[in-house]
């Protein structure tokens, strides 16, 4: 379980401090596919990046299974990050490595020996359906395939939590559907909790069981997807539902 308590992140700018996120409270249960939706600049990316401390929060706590991670440093921080997978909008594959070696990267980092590394990579490529591309390089793959590789990579060290930062925003709608289906399968079969950042309500509707709407650095509404969709409380939420997408 992940409990985010009163989380804020301030950036200092020329016009004083700016709160990218402000007093965020969220609870994500094990096995959830939790959607966080909002406009660009609402703070959703900062929020997800706080969860593996790519951004260091200014205030508040993030409890993962009861342990506050915000104070972790050095070795402990590295160990935490190895247990949390992350998928990015732009895939971010290593262009000079084969697909096999891209997926093996987190295993190398964690010091897994070569033989078990190769076995694990085969498993992962099978999960994402890219076994035949093991020896190819990223440039030879389509966007959707590259995102599959990045999902396989994120799963390498058996994480219990997968953070997805706009994972389908660089993909066409058909590819989006297949990536979302893959994420749902992973959640279902491997029991991985998923937090997904998006600006598309369709993404939330397709795979999330819970959703939080973030606007101007604050969570303005949250709950089960079916409740929020059938009975939105806030204007921003209604707008989101009407337009399907907030760019």
């Amino acid at each position: 379980m992940i409990e985010i308590k009163n989380l804020s992140k301030f950036f200092s700018t020329e016009n004083g401090d700016f709160a990218a996120i402000n007093g965020i409270n969220l609870t994500i249960e094990d096995g959830d596919i939790f959607g966080i939706i909002g406009m660009s600049g609402a703070g959703k990316s900062t929020l997800i990046r706080c969860i593996n401390l790519l951004e260091k929060p200014s205030e508040g706590q993030i409890l993962i299974d009861g342990q506050d991670i915000t104070a972790l440093e050095g070795r402990e921080l590295l160990t935490l990050r190895r247990k949390i997978g992350m998928v990015f909008q732009r895939f971010n594959l290593l262009m000079q490595r084969t697909i096999r070696d891209n997926v093996a990267f987190p295993l190398e980092i964690a010091g897994v020996e070569k033989k078990s590394r190769l076995e694990r990579v085969d498993e992962l490529l099978e999960i994402v359906g890219l076994t035949s591309k093991a020896g190819s390089y990223p440039v030879q793959l389509s966007g959707g395939q590259q995102q599959r590789v990045s999902i396989a990579r994120a799963l390498a060290n058996h994480p219990s939590l997968l953070l997805c930062d706009e994972p389908t925003s660089a993909l066409d709608s058909l590819t989006t559907n297949s990536i979302l289906k893959l994420l749902k399968d992973i959640n279902h079969k491997l029991g991985v909790t998923i937090i997904i950042i998006t600006h598309e309500i369709a993404v939330v509707e397709k795979i999330c069981n819970k959703v939080a709407i973030i606007d101007e650095s604050r969570i303005i509404e949250q709950g089960l997807v079916k409740d929020v969709i059938s009975n939105p409380q806030q204007d921003v939420t209604r707008k989101l539902l009407e337009r399907g997408e907030l760019a």
Partner: protein, 223 residues
Amino acid sequence: MSEFFAQYGDLLIKNTWVTIYVTTLSTFFSYVFGVPLGVLLVITQPHGIWAHKTLNSVLGWIVNIGRSIPFIILMVALMPLTRLVMGIAIGPNAAILPLVIAATPFVARLVESSLQEVDAGVIEVAQSTGSTIGQIVWKVILPESLPSMVLGASITFITLLGYMAMAGAIGAGGLGDVAIRYGYYKYQTDIMIATIIILIILVAVIQLLGNGISRKIDRRIKK
């Protein structure tokens, strides 16, 4: 023509080798020192993976000062040091020390700009995977920028070829020495032209080699 080669062929071949030998070793050692310096310049930047303002400024200054001194002056100024380190202040081997000292800051800047081409997103992946700073440098930054660094190495080699000709003027030997002694002091235009042709060929070969290797190892290019 054949008469010319009979008379000067050995001289030209021998000194071509001297030039290649000194330039190759100097390029190699300037990378031994220049790569770590370039890496430090990049990772200690304000938003680098090991941000360190003071160290970054100090290194930046050292590199800038190193690059400000014209090679011919540096070489003369370093003669006492060269004698101390190499045991001799003239000759091909003695040229290596000033060449390496002159080229290291240059290499550091070239390496710095190659490393900066690495996508910030990829470094972020490495961080989110729990990589140490050393792992990010060894497994991400250096391999991802290797094709660009190979291009930099050919530029360095060609620059050092020019410096080596200057070193020839004060007793390092090589093609620069031949050009000065025969072409300039003795007005032997044919020898001057021969050294120029050899240098042009050397530069062309190195550039082709650099471009070729870089292309061959660069997996971003669809083949």
